[in-house]
């Protein structure tokens, strides 16, 4: 494998909807999935100074077709995005979808096939089509969401046999982490509290986040004066011991988009471009880890490929997002990458180092817990945040020293590790 891009590729524009619930979140309530997607696409095209007719191809991502009911997304969305008669495909890599789309676009551009590609992702994990209505939606039950989502997980031997995401992704990884590094359950719990506090702080500073309430405010609303007392209470139960409810993913409806183009075309464009310096992808079926639940071979391979292509090492990273559907898994991945010292990730959270104003900023949009998780749209929301940070446009949550190298890692169920390395131009 040569693992090289033959031509430099840049992100020229990014867009992202608010994440939330199409039935009740401000800015989203009443929108159809077509309009939700168009909002994100329009923002990305406007950011790049282009229209849908200026792109050569469209890669349309959507994972859970059961709730969106827009397969053949490229054509069904074409008149909503101004992209009629373009080349296109509907694809999915579950929760890595949009960034795998960016990787496919980068390869197509570097190969000399297309100059400019629009990538977008849309997902509704909170609401589904109501009956046969073209515009009415209704809530999805917890069980239905996971039954549909888990269709991406081993359907021969795991899901039919009691597989449970909260156990596999949270509780077992947490225990592996504590045993490997000799961390007490009490220290683990405090570290997870601080990690949640940082992610919710970021969400509270992000007008597009699903959850914009700090952990402290939530505790107060629930009647607690001490937020850590709330954290340890039955109002924040163990969902997969020793992982608690507020360390988990928050489902969301949402859409994201980006415009990729040749780097030479991006220079002098409407907005400051960001270069795709490298990427890596590696997938695995269950089990995602061996005897040591903190080490995932697929992540390591994806990271190594991306760093090799980009010519960077861990010490070069200014901003990191790791997939944080499970907060403890996100720490393990950051340690595998080398951004955090092995076994010290939760300690870094307790010291405030993972906040936007710390020396190891992570998930400054709020991550999967606070920003929310709309499977096929989420990786694009991570890239959106990284681009804002690298342009100095992240507002109240702006990292003080504007990042020059950002790394975005996502887990696409179940499980595809995708890593993007972005660099300032």
């Amino acid at each position: 494998m040569r693992n090289q891009l033959k031509e430099r590729v840049a992100i020229a524009g990014v867009g992202c909807s608010r994440f939330g619930d199409l039935l009740r979140t401000p800015e989203l309530k009443g929108l159809t999935i077509q309009e939700l997607t168009a909002h994100a696409v329009r923002e990305a095209l406007d950011d790049a100074g282009l229209t849908g007719q200026d792109v050569d191809a469209v890669f349309a991502g959507n994972a859970m077709v059961h709730s969106s009911q827009v397969p053949a997304t490229y054509s069904q969305l074409s008149k909503w995005t101004g992209t009629q008669f373009k080349a296109g495909v509907h694809f999915e890599a579950q929760c890595s979808t949009t960034n795998v789309g960016a990787i496919m676009a980068a390869m197509a551009i570097a190969a000399g096939v297309y100059d400019t590609v629009l990538v977008y992702g849309l997902e509704t994990t909170r609401t589904k089509v109501k009956g046969y209505s073209p515009y009415e939606r209704e809530p999805i039950s917890h069980q239905q969401t996971w039954l549909w989502t888990d269709m991406a997980v081993n359907q021969a031997y795991a899901v039919p046999q009691g597989y449970d995401i909260f156990s596999t992704y949270n509780g077992l990884v947490a225990q592996g982490y504590c045993r490997k590094y000799g961390i007490s359950i009490e220290d683990f719990d405090r570290g997870m509290y601080e990690l949640c506090r940082a992610r919710r702080l970021h969400g509270s500073m992000n007008p597009k986040a699903n959850t914009q309430e700090t952990l402290e405010d939530r505790a107060k609303r629930k009647g607690y004066t001490d937020p850590y007392e709330y954290w340890q209470s039955d109002d924040n139960p163990f969902v997969a011991w020793p992982s608690r409810l507020l360390s988990l993913v928050t489902t969301a409806d949402g859409a994201s988009a980006m415009v990729l183009t040749r780097a030479d075309l991006a220079k002098g464009a409407k907005s400051q471009p960001v270069e795709i310096k490298g990427f890596g992808v590696s997938y695995s079926d269950l089990p995602w880890y061996g005897e040591d639940p903190t080490f995932w071979e697929s992540d390591k391979r994806a990271v190594d490929a991306a760093f090799d292509m980009a010519g960077i090492k861990a010490a070069d990273i200014d901003y990191l997002h790791t997939h944080d559907c499970s907060h403890i898994s996100s720490i393990c991945t950051a340690e595998t990458i080398g951004y955090l010292e092995p076994g010290r990730g939760l300690h870094a959270a307790r010291e405030g180092r993972l906040r936007f104003d710390g020396d190891r900023p992570m998930s400054t949009h709020g991550g999967r817990h606070a920003f929310g998780h709309a499977w096929g749209a989420s990786a694009g929301s991570d890239t959106y945040e990284a681009v804002l940070q690298m342009r100095g446009q992240a507002g109240a949550r702006q990292i003080p020293k504007v990042p020059e190298i950002s790394v975005i890692h996502t887990h696409g169920y179940a499980m595809i590790g995708a890593v993007l390395v972005l660099g300032s131009m």
């Binding site: 888990d150 009691g162 156990s167 163990f238 011991w241 020793p242």
Partner: protein, 139 residues
């Protein structure tokens, strides 16, 4: 009369064997490693030259956690909450399954975690429509 012969299926064979309390895997003739549960291909080296093998059902339970209700899958609604564990089988494969012999409560899970790895033995549960492979903590 239907004269079309049914083709062999590793998945069907696995569940039919499991219903009788047997654990089917495949062993690779090229690299000698096990693929469990079985497919038609070696998960380690990619060889198609595999043969059926029985596993002992003996395992070491490395970690065990629990879930909440409702279960993610309707088949397990009546069983949830249940304990779910990370195991190393005697023959080498790593596997995750429902764990029997312990309550799905934080205090019990913590006590087990503090004991460290414990031996466990395969046991077949019969649900309404499918046998389910679980492991019971020994002793």
């Amino acid at each position: 009369m239907n004269t079309i012969q049914e083709q062999p299926s590793a998945i069907r064979s696995y569940y039919e064997a499991l219903a009788k309390g047997k654990l089917l895997a495949v062993t690779c003739k090229a690299c000698g490693k096990h693929t469990f549960p079985p497919t038609g291909c070696c998960e380690h080296c990619g060889s198609w030259d595999v043969e059926e093998a029985d596993l002992s059902g003996e395992a070491t339970l490395l970690f065990a956690t629990h879930n909440l209700t409702p279960a993610c899958h309707p088949r397990f609604e009546s069983m949830a909450p249940y304990v779910y564990g990370h195991l190393k089988l005697k023959e080498g494969p790593i596997f995750q399954a429902i764990i029997l012999g312990i309550e799905p409560k934080p205090a019990a899970l913590r006590e087990l975690f503090e004991r460290g790895p414990v031996p466990a033995k395969a046991e077949t549960l019969q649900t309404d429509d499918l046998p389910v492979l679980a492991f019971r903590i020994a002793g």
